[in-house]
Structures are given as C-alpha cells and as structure tokens.
C-alpha cells in the first residue's frame, strides 16, 4: 500500500501502516460482528466459486451419464448454495454498513470532542473550514474505507485466488493457458487508473470553476442587472461551462475505452478455452463439464480485478484522510488543571494581574512545519521562539499590572489590536500566560480548577454569540436548569422581556445563526440576559460598536447597569456612558497599559485618553 500511496504524489508524514492500524482500531469494539462479517464474506465468496463447480458436476455426472438422480442432487445443491449466498449477502451487507457507520460515528465524536477540548490557540491557527473538512469529507472517506474497502478487498482477493486454484486443480495446463490474458487485464487496469486519475482531477477543477462563477453570478445578480451585463455574463458562463464539458468528455472517452477493453480481453480468454479446450474435449482428454466450468470462471475473473483497482484509490484516500484526522486527535491541549488545583467554591471577585506578559504561541507541530518549510526553501531554520526579548513580535501583552476590587467595573479602551481582547481572555485561562501572575481572591489562577473558575464568569462577546436555537434556549445557555420564571425575571430585569414578548412566538422564537433576525440592540439585550441568568461574580463584556437607535440605546444602558450591579466587570468599552460610569479606566496601546484612572481624572490629564475622547467618543448621542 505504501507504494501505491506515494505514486500519487501525496506525501504522507506517518507510516501508512500505523494510520491504517489506528483507523481500524475504531472497529475493535465490534470485533465479534467483524469476525462474523468476514466469515459471511468468505462464505458468500465460496458460494460464488462453488456454483460453477456444481454446474460442472451436474453436466458431467447428471447429463453426460444420463443420471437423473445426480442431476436432481446437484440441482438442489445449487439451489441451496444460491439461497445461502443470498442470505449471507444480506447479513454481510447489513453488517458492513452497520460497522462502518458505527465506527465513523465514533470518529466524528472523537474529533468533535477533541475540538471542544482544544485551546483557543488551536482555533487561532486553523480555519474553521479546514476543521469542518475533518468531520465531513475526511470522516466520510474513512467510512467508505471501513465499510466497503477492507472487506471487499479481502473478498476480491479470496475470489481471485479461489478461481485460480480451482482452475489449476481442474486442469492445470488449460488454466495456465487461460491465465495468459491476466497480465493484459492487469496492465490495462493500471494504465487506465493512472490516466483517469489525471483526467478526473482536471474535471474536478473545471467543475469548481463552474460553480464558483455560478455562485458569483447569482449572488451579484442585482448588480449584473443594474449594469445590464446579462449578455456578457452569459458568454462568460458558456465559456467555463464549455471547458468543463470538454474536460468531462475527455474523461468519458477514457472510461469508454476501459470497459470494452476488458471485455475484449475476457473474450480472448473465452476463445482460448473454446478453441483449445474444445479440441481437447474432442480428443477425449477433457470432459464437457470442466469446459463449461472454465467458461464460467473466466467470466468471473474480471469483476474482482476491476474492483481491486477501484479499492486502491479508496485505500489512498483513507490513508490521507486518516492522517489528517489523527493529526487532530493527537493535537495537544496543554491548558489543563494543574496538579493539585482546587475548585473555588465561593468567589468575592477580586482580580489581580501582576506583571503579566503574554504571547500567542504556535502549536508545536506548526513550529516544526515552519522549520521544515524554511529548511526546504534553503533558509536556516528559525530559532526557537525567543523568550528573553521583550520585542518579540508575537508578544501581545507586556507587563500588565492591574488590581480590581470585588464589584468594580474596569473599562478597557484603546485601538484595535491594543491587547484588550487578549487581556480579558486570560481571565478565563483560555491561554497560558508567559510570565507574571493572575490572582482571583488572592489565589493564583493555576491553583483553581478551570471549570470552577469559568463557572464564576459570564461573557458577553461583541458579536453576542447567539446560537441557532430558540430565544429561551439561548437565554439559559449559561444555566441550563433555569426555570421559566427565572428566565422571565432575568429578561425583565435587563428589559429584554418587552421586545421578546412582542414577538409572535415570544420566547420560542428561533434565532437564526448569529442572531440574524434580531437587531443589534436586541441581540445585546439577549446576551445581557443570558449573562445575568448565569449569575456570575465576574462579567466580561465586549461592547457592540455599531450604532443603535436612541430607544434601544437607553434600554441597553439600563440593562447593562443591572447586569454590572454588584459584580466585578471587565468591559472592552466603546460607549462613552459605560466609560464614564467605570471605576477604573485602563487605556491600552500596543499591549501595554499606558494610562489609568477615571474618566474625569484622565480627561484632566489631557493625555492619550483625552485625545481618544475628542476624536472618537465625544460625538456619541449616548447620555
């Protein structure tokens, strides 16, 4: 298999046998069923082999000897064999799909669970589309491999060997003569496989171009029509469609050569049997039954060969997909509870940062890959990440020291990329700090279990992070056991209840993915209510930037005040009203805290905040 894998140009990074081993490990829980299926498979293959032999006996002992009893005997035996074959096939087929689907279900589960456990830095370095492909296409490739690939491979080999052995046993010289067509068949198959994989690749590319231009045309239809471009679009599309047509036809042509080609070779084999075998029957050194059996076996020959050729692709595909999946499953999730970490049952909400430095660290395997790439390009491999230098470009936060008393609100202000989001993410220990210390109620963050730490916090992200579920389900996301009354009470407090109850379906309204049907202000209110319902000690809030109308704005302010009451809060602030009310305003720039104080004291200082205020904040309608 490793030879086959490498001739395709896909360089695999781990031994193929190991990949297959790991993939097949997913079948292990069902090993009894697998054993049963393999047995059934051997049985059905044997039935395929035995049938012509029975025909042979029926002819030789029944018809040639004019023995009706023998004819009846072999006839009934034949019937028994085909009934057995049908029953066996039925069970075999069901079990194959059953095993394949159960195994791939476990694969999907493992990948998804792994994703949930991985650090945020994994998500920073991998696109969601690629991550999805592991659960979709790659898993499906494994399923095909497990369901059809492995078992059919065995069954085909078994059948092929069986035919060869039986033919040799019946008459070795005629068998050897017939086998002379085998190299032709294998040669044709290999030639075809090589060429067709090239042509089908061209087809796939052309199809991709067609759907891309189609997608573009349809999405931009309003612009197309507004600028009277319909005619040009037609000729543009007909060009790409024509290219796809030609590529497909060239692949079709190849496919049309293959089947008739195999047929010609098979007929050549039959001609040999008829010519040579027939003359030998005539001379009396071959019986008629064997001749007929040979004819039947030659016909059985080429199915397994063709099938084996197809399986080779499946095996390669599975090796590549398996490797990608294993890479996910083996990715490290280094943020775990430290040994001896204790849950924090009660939290007052005092938070302290002491000289915290933080840098986004690439996962180890990516560093290795980068080094490989650099080496391949002839550069000297990059040195290990430099930890001594404060000017490391990956470093996001420098020497952050901050002390927050329980119940205080901290407003973080600064330009995009100043490090505000990174700072608040450290609170939930989504990343590991490089140096310094973060303390909650005077306990170091690493001495607290992650679940209990996050359990005391609620997050209101900027895009509000709503799910495609009902409003009710979204609200109780932070506390799944919340009762209806509690939900409504919380919604009343934030002011979300008014607009929710005005919706035709109320709390049962489906929120589309990303909260598409609701206005920005409404989404924020839902997000506030969700956080309030979780009743956390610490609130982390990334304020929405976009403008909302005055009424909603006032509602949001009221909701926010309610939410922040009596809790420690970190707010990435965009709204002047929030900043004015904050106990501490922290101005950040390039990962450092450059100013701190209250709104008034900072204005009076006439520094960075003053500048920010006059250019960006002053004009807001808020207040």
């Amino acid at each position: 298999m490793s030879v086959a894998a490498s001739d395709h140009g896909t360089k695999l990074e781990r031994p193929v046998r190991q990949t297959y081993g790991r993939i097949l490990g997913y079948v292990a829980p069902y090993r009894q069923r697998v054993a049963l299926t393999v047995m059934l498979m051997l049985l059905t293959s044997a039935a395929v082999l035995v049938a012509p032999a029975l025909v042979r006996q029926a002819i030789n002992e029944g018809m040639a000897q004019r023995d009706e009893a023998a004819l009846l005997r072999y006839g009934l035996l034949f019937l028994a064999v085909i009934v057995g074959e049908a029953v066996g096939l039925r069970l075999q087929m069901y079990n194959m799909i059953w095993i394949g689907q159960h195994a791939v279900m476990a694969v999907r589960r493992d990948i998804f669970y792994k994703y949930l456990d991985l650090n945020l830095s994994y998500f920073d370095h991998n696109r969601i589309g690629d991550m999805m492909a592991r659960v979709t296409e790659d898993s499906n490739a494994l399923e095909r491999f497990i369901t059809w690939g492995v078992i059919n491979m065995i069954s085909n080999l078994f059948t092929l060997v069986g035919i060869i052995v039986l033919m040799l046993a019946y008459d070795w010289s005629l068998a050897l003569l017939t086998f002379t067509v085998l190299p032709l068949m294998i040669g044709l198959t290999l030639w075809w496989r090589k060429l067709s994989s090239q042509r089908y690749r061209a087809v796939r590319e052309a199809v991709g171009v067609v759907s891309a231009s189609l997608q573009e045309n349809l999405s931009g239809m309003r612009t197309v029509q507004a600028f009277v471009r319909e005619y040009r679009e037609k000729s543009r599309f007909s060009e790409v469609a024509e290219t796809e047509l030609q590529a497909s036809l060239s692949a079709d042509k190849l496919a049309s050569i293959f089947m008739p080609g195999i047929d010609i070779i098979a007929q050549l084999g039959i001609a040999i049997v008829v010519g040579v075998g027939g003359i030998r029957v005539l001379n009396g050194d071959l019986d008629a039954g064997t001749l007929v059996a040979f004819l039947l076996y030659v016909n059985l020959f080429f199915d397994p060969i063709r099938d084996l050729a197809r399986r080779l692709d499946q095996f390669q595909e599975a090796a590549a997909a398996g490797e990608r999946i294993l890479a996910v499953l083996e990715a490290e999730s280094d943020i775990q509870d430290a040994p001896g970490a204790q849950p924090l049952d009660q939290m007052d909400g005092a938070v302290e940062f002491r000289h915290v430095d933080f840098a986004y660290v690439k996962p180890r395997h990516e560093l290795a890959r980068d080094a490989d790439r650099a080496a391949a390009n002839g550069h000297t491999p990059a040195a290990t990440p430099d930890t001594s230098d404060g000017d490391d470009p990956a470093q996001v936060l420098h020497d952050i020291t901050l002390s927050v008393r329980p119940g205080e609100t901290v407003a973080l202000v600064g330009h995009t990329g100043a490090g505000k989001s990174s700072l608040v993410r450290l609170l939930g220990r989504f990343y590991e700090i490089r140096s310094g210390e973060i303390l909650f109620d005077r306990r170091p963050i690493r001495s607290i279990t992650i679940a209990s730490l996050r359990g005391h916090m609620a997050w209101v992200p900027q895009d509000t992070g709503l799910f495609a579920a009902t409003i009710r389900d979204n609200l109780r996301y932070g506390r799944l056991d919340a009762t209806e009354d509690e939900i409504i009470a919380a919604a009343r407090e934030t002011g979300a209840h008014d607009f929710i109850s005005r919706l035709p379906k109320g709390y049962d309204t489906e929120v589309e993915e990303g909260g598409a049907r609701l206005s920005t202000g409404q989404r924020q209110l839902i997000s506030f209510t969700r956080a309030l319902l979780a009743d956390p000690r610490i609130i982390i809030l990334d304020e929405a930037t976009s403008a909302v109308d005055t009424v909603t704005e006032l509602q949001m302010q009221a909701g926010l005040r309610k939410l922040l009451q009596g809790r420690t809060a970190f707010v990435i602030a965009h709204r002047l009203s929030t900043i004015v009310r904050a106990d501490q305003v922290v101005v950040m720039d390039h990962g450092r805290i450059i100013e701190r104080g209250t709104h008034d004291s900072l204005l009076a200082a006439r520094g960075h905040y003053y500048h920010l205020y006059t250019t960006q904040l002053q004009g807001q309608i808020a207040e």
């Binding site: 799909i97 199809v207 047509l245 001609a271 016909n299 009424v551």
Partner: protein, 623 residues
C-alpha cells in the same frame, strides 16, 4: 412523463447523432446475443452432438469448427468492443450536450428573472438546481436511456430465442421476472428519500459543528462543552439511524435481486438438464442458455438504479422547469419607445407597490400613492424609518420591480414603455451592499462598460477618491479582490462602487447610502466622492446623514410607505415636524451633522409615538 418528454426535447438538435448512437447500441446488443449461441454450438461440436442449426458447412472437421469459432469470438469481441466504445462514449456525449444546453437555458433565464425572484430564493438553492440537479438529468438523458434500451432488447432477444427453441422453458423462465421488477422498483423508488434523509440529518449535524466551532469562545466561557457534546451526539445518532435504514433497504433488496438471477440458472440447470437427458435439447443449447442468463445479470443489477435515476430526473426536471416557466414580469414591452438620451425628469404619480405574497410571507403593502417630481440636475433626498419603503422606492425607477399602482415617468415616458436596456444603461446605481466580483479592481470598475480604457477607469477612480488606496496595492488596478484576492474595507468597496457608477456616466443616479459602518475620515472621503458624482445629474438618494440631506433640493420623509413630510431643508425646519426635531438634536444637543443616523433617530421617534398609541399597530414592513 411530460417532464421526461420535455427533457428529451433537448435531444432534438442532435437527433442524427442520437439516432446513430442508439443504432450502434442496438447492433451491439444483438451481437452480444450471438456469442452464447456460438459457444453452445462449439460445445456441441466438441461433443459430437448434432447441432440444431448448421452454423458451418457439414464438410468441416470438428477441429476446424472449434478453431473457427474461437477466431469468430475474438473477431466479434473486437467489433463489439469498438461498438461499445462508440455507444458508451456517445451516450455520455449526448447526456453532456443536453445537460450543457439545459444549463445554459436555465442560466440565461436566471439572468432575466426580476429582483423579486431573488428576494425569495436562496442562492444555495439555485446553485443546486444549476449544478447537481442538471447533472442527474444528464445521467438520465444519456446513459440511462441507453441502459433501458439495452435491457429491453436483451430481455426480448433472449426470451425470443428461448421461445423459438422451447416454449415451456420460456414459460418457466418468465415466472421470476415480475418479482424482479417489483423488487427493483420498490428499491429504486426508496433510494432517493432514504438518501435525502441522510443528507438532511448530516446537514443538521454539520451546522451544529460549524456553529460550535465558530462560537467556541462562548462555549468555553460558559463551560458548556458537555452540553455541546450531548447535542452533537443526538445529531450524530440521527445520522447513524438514517444510515441503518439504508443498510436495511440495501440488504433486503440487492441480495434478493441477485438471487432471482441465480434462480434462473437453477431453473435452467434443473429443467434444462432433464431435457438434455431426454435429448430434447443439446448440452450446447443449455450452455448457451446459461450464458444468456449471465448476460442478464449486469443490466438487472442496474435496474434498480435506473429506476432511481429516472425518478430523480422527473423530480429535478420539475424543479428546473418550474424556474424556467417563471416568466419575468419585468420585461421590455412590444413596441417600446426609443427616446434616446434622457434629460432626466422623473415623476412619480400615485405610485403604490405591493410585495406579493409568497410561501411563508404574507402580502405586504410597501408604498402607498407616492407622488413627487425630480427635475433634471436636482438632488432628491429620501429619509425615513426602517421599513418605510425607501429602498423599494428607488428600486422602482430602473424597474427592478414594477409598480402595482400609478406610474413612474422619465421625460414623460412611462418607464414600462421604455426598453429595459436603454433604461438601465442610463440609470447609475450605487447599492447599499456593494457587491464586488472576484476579479481585478479594473474589471470591477469597468463592470458596466467593459470596453472602457485604463485612462477612463483611472479617471473614474480618481473622481471616486479610490485611486490612492488602489495604488497602495502592489498590483494596482490589476489587484484581485474577493475570495481569492485582497479584502477591502466597507469604505473602499463603496468607493469602488461609486467609481463603477461614474464610469457609466448615467443621466440618473440612484444612491442607497450606507456610510453607517465606516469611520469618519473615510466618510468624509466618500461624501466628497458623492458630491462629485451627483453633479449634472438627476439624483435620488436614500440618505442616512443630515449632512447629505441638508443640501438636497428636496427632502421626502417616508413613514409606512407614505410621504409624511416634504420640502427643502429650510421648509421642513420651519414646518416643525419630525425633521425639525431631528435638526434640533443637532443644534440643541450639539451633535455634529455627520454623527446623526437619521433612520435610527426616526425609528426611535416613531416607536416612542406608537408605544404611546398602544401596541395594536405593528409595522413589520420590508424595505
């Protein structure tokens, strides 16, 4: 059936070739019927039995007969191989040509369908019509028609030959056939719904994974990994169950179909063997019959899939033709006027627009008896609440929709009496959401005038204040934008859209202003570009900013599809209505004119008003 005939009508341009291809297919199928007969007589010759039909001169020795038969088999195989290549490629070719033509027809038709169609249809749906659905029709129109022809011919041919030899044998052989057809039919008809169920379940599971991956911060922040795991496992199990259903379907149908074919062999062996013993038929005849049964096995295995393809072709054809039968309600009228270049005098006379009902949305009255006049070289600003019909109003001018009452005239011509192409080529449009194509910046700007020179494009870009940022890209005007190219900011996209409209040099300019999401510096740039763009044209602008509105020649304030205030800035301020209130925000609260989002403020005002009126009048109107 009508659908199938309509599909087959696409064969008409190729009928000569189609006739030739199917003629070859028929000849090949008939030739296939010869081989078993040859083999049978060869066996008889080898055994020395008297043959029913003398294939070769009686004087020939048996050896000569056998060798000749072998040679004939190979020759026939080669002829058949060539023919098979021709018909296999030919049917593929035919299917692809038909699919190509059908696809181009559908594509062309889509270019003519009005905006209202696209409002209701998702791009993804249309994509699968033009790609996947047509692809399945292709399979039907080429290959499957050939398959059906092949199966019918084989069946009649084989049973015909059988009947000529033994009517009784034929009768016995007819018994399993109806069962075969019934099983294949039931199986084939279930395939699509069963696989449809898998697709649906999978789609839901994938959506769930995608959502959790993109909201990973929320999931982790609320420690909802376990909840996500549970939900996912439910989806995962649903996919599994859908597959198990397929496994049951497969395992109960396919082995049964194969069994019936094997049963034919048994019947032959048992009854035929008897007759061989009784010398009613020769052993050769029996062997050739056996070979005939072998010929049947492949097409009968495919029977179920043929039924599936035909069922899909009907379903897909229905969907596709439904689109093609949607007549574009907006089209050039016969005997349309040709006034040449417009002066640009627009008049709305009691214009009403009702958005007609569709599946899940009721009829919506968007505009009600709107009348106004826009003289050449003036600017008309339209302001209003969300959903007041502003965007619809301007969409009516280039006939993206047709009025449902009243009339719109340009220079005295009803827009419905003007050729669409003429009308739209003189109306420049800058839409709210700028759509850019995956092409170079040059191509995007020249979208409405592809023959424009580089100088023209640069001049337009300069006027739109886009030249400077374009030149900052390494590729300049040849820079690719969109998915495969650079990502442009909202402000940059808008300036490209303005340049695009400028290049067409339209008499009438329609702007849907969406500067809410850009920073103030960019906004000033865009505003300057717009000023330039509006010079010397009739302009209708849906405005968001007071600064735009103030200098307009007339202002229309829309609410619920009606003009509630109209006049110049000075007149409206004097009137003391809603607009005057807006203006007071600026003067009394010292908010700069650029900072006021008119729509948002108006929404707030009207909402407050209605809250006071009572909640009975809910206006959820589409703009």
């Amino acid at each position: 059936m009508n659908i199938l005939i309509r599909i087959l009508r696409y064969m008409r341009p190729y009928w000569r070739r189609a006739a030739l291809i199917y003629a070859v297919l028929i000849v090949i199928t008939l030739l296939t019927l010869v081989s078993p007969w040859l083999i049978g007589s060869a066996i008889d010759a080898a055994l020395g039995t008297q043959t029913e039909s003398a294939l070769y001169p009686a004087s020939w020795s048996r050896e000569r007969v056998l060798v000749t038969t072998a040679i004939v088999i190979v020759t026939l195989a080669i002829v058949r191989g060539l023919g098979n290549f021709a018909q296999s490629y030919g049917t593929q070719w035919l299917g692809r040509r038909i699919a190509y033509d059908l696809r181009m027809d559908l594509f062309s038709h889509l270019q003519r369908l009005p905006f209202s169609f696209y409002d209701r249809t998702r791009v993804g749906q249309l994509m699968s019509r033009v790609t996947g659905d047509i692809d399945e029709i292709r399979f039907f129109a080429g290959v499957v028609i050939g398959d059906v022809l092949n199966l019918v011919l084989l069946l009649t041919g084989i049973y015909g030959i059988m009947f000529s030899i033994s009517a009784r044998l034929t009768l016995i052989f007819l018994i399993p056939l109806p069962v075969l057809f019934v099983v294949a039919y039931l199986f084939g008809m279930r395939l699509e719904p069963y696989f449809g169920a898998i697709r649906t379940a999978r789609g839901e599971m994938y959506a769930r994974i995608q959502e959790n991956l993109s909201q990973i911060v929320v999931v982790k922040a609320f420690s909802r990994e376990e909840y996500a795991r549970q939900q996912f496992q439910d989806d995962n199990t649903r996919v599994l169950n859908a597959w198990i259903r397929v496994a049951k379907l497969y395992s109960s149908s396919l082995p049964a179909i194969w069994f019936i074919v094997s049963l034919l062999t048994f019947l032959l062996l048992y009854f035929g063997g008897e007759w061989v013993i009784d010398d009613k038929i020769t052993l050769g005849t029996l062997v050739s019959f056996n070979a005939y049964v072998g010929l049947l096995s492949l097409p009968t295995h495919r029977l179920a899939f043929m039924i599936d393809v035909i069922a899909r072709a009907i379903a897909n054809g229905k969907r596709i033709f439904a689109i093609m039968d949607t007549t574009p309600e907006v089209k050039t009228r016969l005997g349309a006027a040709h006034p040449g270049e417009f002066k640009g005098h627009i008049r709305f006379e009691n214009v009403s627009f009702i958005y007609s009902a569709s599946e899940d949305e009721p009829e919506v009255e968007v505009l009600f008896e709107v009348s106004f006049e826009a003289r050449p070289d003036t600017v008309t600003a339209i302001v209003g609440t969300t959903g007041s019909g502003k965007t619809t109003l301007i969409d009516l001018v280039p006939r993206f929709y047709d009025v449902t009452g009243g009339a719109i005239t340009i220079d005295g011509y009803d827009v419905r009496d003007l050729p669409l192409k003429l009308l739209r080529s003189q109306v420049g449009f800058v839409m709210q959401n700028t759509f850019l194509f995956n092409a170079t910046i040059h191509e995007n700007i020249a979208f409405g005038r592809p023959e424009a020179t580089a100088q023209d494009v640069i001049a337009a870009a300069r006027a739109a204040r886009a030249h400077d940022f374009i030149m900052e890209f390494a590729g300049g005007y040849q820079t690719l934008v969109g998915e495969r190219g650079v990502t442009l900011s909202g402000g940059q996209r808008q300036r490209i859209a303005i340049a695009r409209a400028l290049l067409v040099n339209p008499r009438i300019l329609i702007l849907d202003d969406a500067t809410a999401s850009v920073d103030s510096h960019t906004e000033i740039e865009i505003r300057a570009a717009l000023q330039h763009l509006m010079q010397g044209r009739t302009t209708l602008i849906v405005a968001q900013r007071l600064s735009t509105v103030m200098h307009a020649d007339q202002i229309l304030l829309l609410h619920r599809g009606q003009v509630v205030e109209r006049g110049t800035h000075a007149e409206l301020v004097a009137l003391g209505g809603r607009y005057a209130q807006l203006w007071r925000l600026q003067t009394e609260q010292d908010i700069q004119v650029e900072e006021i989002d008119i729509t948002a403020v108006l929404d707030g005002q009207f909402e407050a008003l209605e809250a006071a009126d009572g909640p009975d009048r809910q206006g959820d109107r589409k703009s």
